[in-house]
């Protein structure tokens, strides 16, 4: 989680930022799924073999969150592509210097 956040903050490359974001989000998803574990619980399928089940709800929630995460990454990548087409670079520093020039 912290690793993903670190990548987002430190990297100069927009593509790497999107990757960092994906790592950050995935880490949170794993955290969420880990909450579902019930000690000695099995998969929540009704059988005669088990009485203790893990909680299925976090998995369902995370299924939704994964979809959201995919959409976020897709939009991020689409934006990176558009930035590349417009600026011919996706390095933050180079874009900033380009913008400074165009402002003058």
């Amino acid at each position: 989680m912290v690793g993903g956040l670190f990548i987002i903050i430190t990297s100069q490359n927009y593509l790497k930022k999107v990757i960092g974001l994906a790592i950050f989000q995935t880490a949170v998803f794993v955290f969420f799924v880990s909450l579902a574990k019930v000690l000695d619980g099995t998969a929540p399928i009704l059988t005669k073999m088990a009485n203790v089940y893990s909680n299925p709800l976090p998995h369902v929630l995370i299924l939704t969150a994964i979809v959201v995460g995919v959409a976020t990454s897709a939009l991020g990548l689409a934006l990176v592509l558009q930035i590349y087409r417009n600026y011919e670079t996706i390095e933050e520093k180079e874009i900033q210097s380009l913008e400074l020039k165009s402002d003058k």
Partner: protein, 498 residues
């Protein structure tokens, strides 16, 4: 037939825009997506009015999706807290959609009209979901739908200025971090209580009345995540570029409503759920939200003075105005919450009107509106300029405008809480607001160039004047807004006492 439709009004106000958005996405026509959106939003307004009628009878509507009872199913809750906001939302989106057609046509490829309105309705539906939802995870989903839709809308501004792409990308990254923080908080809350329903959450949290570290960590994560989304001062950096490089119609919608709905949920979470930990809440309000609000007010206004680009200036003034709202909410009493809600209503109208007027100037001169480019506009386009003047005066808080009512109630609330330092600071920053607004007025009316009057488009200045007119009306006859805000505060405070 129509009754079946009305029975599900609470769900339909969210579902209808979302459904229609999917239908119009690939329409090649220029005008039909707009007409369909407009019809949808008229229906939306009818449904909201129906909800208002229901609320005035029963006082509370809980809509259970698929008849799954809370706390198991997702539910929408409409009560005194959000009905006023729902009504304002419904009316404002209708007006801004009416306004948006020619603005969109001149700023984006006409072939994209269907897609633009599809995203537009998507943003409207999901923002409305934020107002109504009673489920903390469902909120995250709506938060992300609205963020993704508005990011795409902002990126449409790239046809005008390629910086829109950078603004959209920054919003995406920062917004996604905020939303993920919120999810971490939800995870902690769920681990401790096993529920996601807000009413049930209060009941379940009560068993940890002595306080648990995990709960406080979760609460903090949720609050920080929402603060990022609501652009509260130190985490506001995505907002000014996003609002200023978005297409003008989009800036109008986002500036007026996007942060407001999230602020509403923020305050609801504070006073409906977290209130059961009074010591934590007052710690957060007194030592985090209160100082940050003061900083937001002061720094937002100061930066706004030095902006040359008008849309950027308005965006920074939004930061300051959000500061006023959070300052009011940090007061922890009835008067504070009331004045916060009053300012949510009034600022939505004021900022909406200002962005509409500036957006119209931008398409008239086919360039970004800067201070120098406004020279003589007071004579060239008198109708829109006069509307801009009134909205601006209201932003400063002159009597006879609704901005004055906001300031009056804020001062009263601060006075009853004996926060004289904040009163002084708010007064000073109001005076500073005169400074940045006077710069605009000076360029528009008092520069030496006198331009000939040109014809203005009635389809565009009509919605602007509806907003401006409502600003004056609510400045003189302010009781509707005050009553709705009082109602909201009543409900939030009564939840606190139970």
């Amino acid at each position: 037939m129509f009754n079946i439709f009305l029975d599900d009004a609470a769900a339909l106000v969210v579902v209808l825009p979302l459904l229609i958005s999917a239908i119009i996405a690939f329409m090649p026509s220029k005008i039909w997506p707009w007409i369909i959106s407009l019809v949808t939003l008229v229906l939306h307004l009818v449904l909201s009015l129906h909800l208002l009628k229901e609320i005035s009878i029963s006082g509370l509507i809980v809509y259970e999706f698929g008849n799954w009872e809370p706390p198991w199913g997702i539910s929408f809750k409409i009560d005194g807290v959000n009905i006023g906001l729902q009504l304002l939302f419904s009316i404002f989106v209708l007006i801004s959609t009416f306004y948006s057609r020619k603005i969109f046509l001149s700023e984006i490829d006409s072939g994209d009209s269907g897609k633009a309105y599809s995203l537009w309705l998507l943003a409207i539906g999901s923002l409305n979901g934020i107002i109504l939802t009673n489920d903390i995870f469902n909120l995250f989903v709506f938060l992300e739908i609205s963020a993704l839709a508005s990011i795409s809308l902002i990126a449409l501004g790239a046809g005008q200025n390629r910086k829109a792409l950078l603004a959209a990308f920054n919003y995406l990254i920062i917004g996604a971090i905020g939303a993920t923080f919120y999810v971490i908080g939800v995870g902690f809350a769920y681990a401790m209580t096993g529920t996601l329903n807000m009413n049930d959450l209060v009941i379940q949290l009560a068993q940890y009345s002595d306080g648990q570290l995990a709960i406080f960590a979760g609460m903090s994560f949720m609050l920080i995540g929402l603060m990022v989304k609501a652009a509260i001062f130190p985490v506001h950096i995505w907002l000014p570029p996003a609002y200023s490089y978005a297409p003008s119609a989009v800036s109008t919608l986002l500036a007026a409503l996007a942060t407001k709905t999230i602020l509403y949920f923020f305050v609801r979470l504070l006073y409906e759920v977290f209130i059961i930990y009074p010591s934590y809440l007052s710690l957060f309000l007194d030592f985090v939200l209160y100082p940050l609000s003061l900083l937001a007010i002061f720094i937002g206004t100061l930066i706004a003075i030095y902006q040359d680009d008008i849309k950027k200036l308005l965006a920074f003034s939004s930061i300051a105005q959000i500061g006023y709202i959070t300052l009011a909410f940090s007061l922890k009493d009835h008067s504070g919450i009331t004045s916060g809600f009053i300012h949510i209503f009034n600022h939505a109208l004021i900022k909406g009107g200002l962005f509409m007027a500036v957006g119209y100037f931008a398409i008239l001169q086919k360039d970004r509106v800067t201070l120098t480019s406004l020279k003589g506009f007071g004579y060239k386009y008198p109708i829109t300029s006069f509307a801009l003047l009134i909205c601006g005066l209201s932003l400063i808080g002159l009597p006879l405008t609704n901005g004055f009512i906001s300031k009056l109630y804020l001062f009263q609330a601060l006075y009853t809480n004996q926060m004289y330092f904040s009163i002084a600071l708010v007064a000073v920053s109001s005076a500073l607001a005169v400074a940045y607004f006077w710069k605009i007025v000076e360029q528009m009316w008092f520069s030496e160039i006198k331009l000939k009057t040109e014809k203005e488009d009635a389809y565009i200045y009509l919605p602007i004047w509806i907003i401006t007119f409502s600003i004056i009306v609510f400045g003189i006859y302010s009781s509707p807004i005050i009553e709705f805000s009082n109602l909201s505060a009543d409900y939030l405070i009564s939840g606190y006492q139970n």
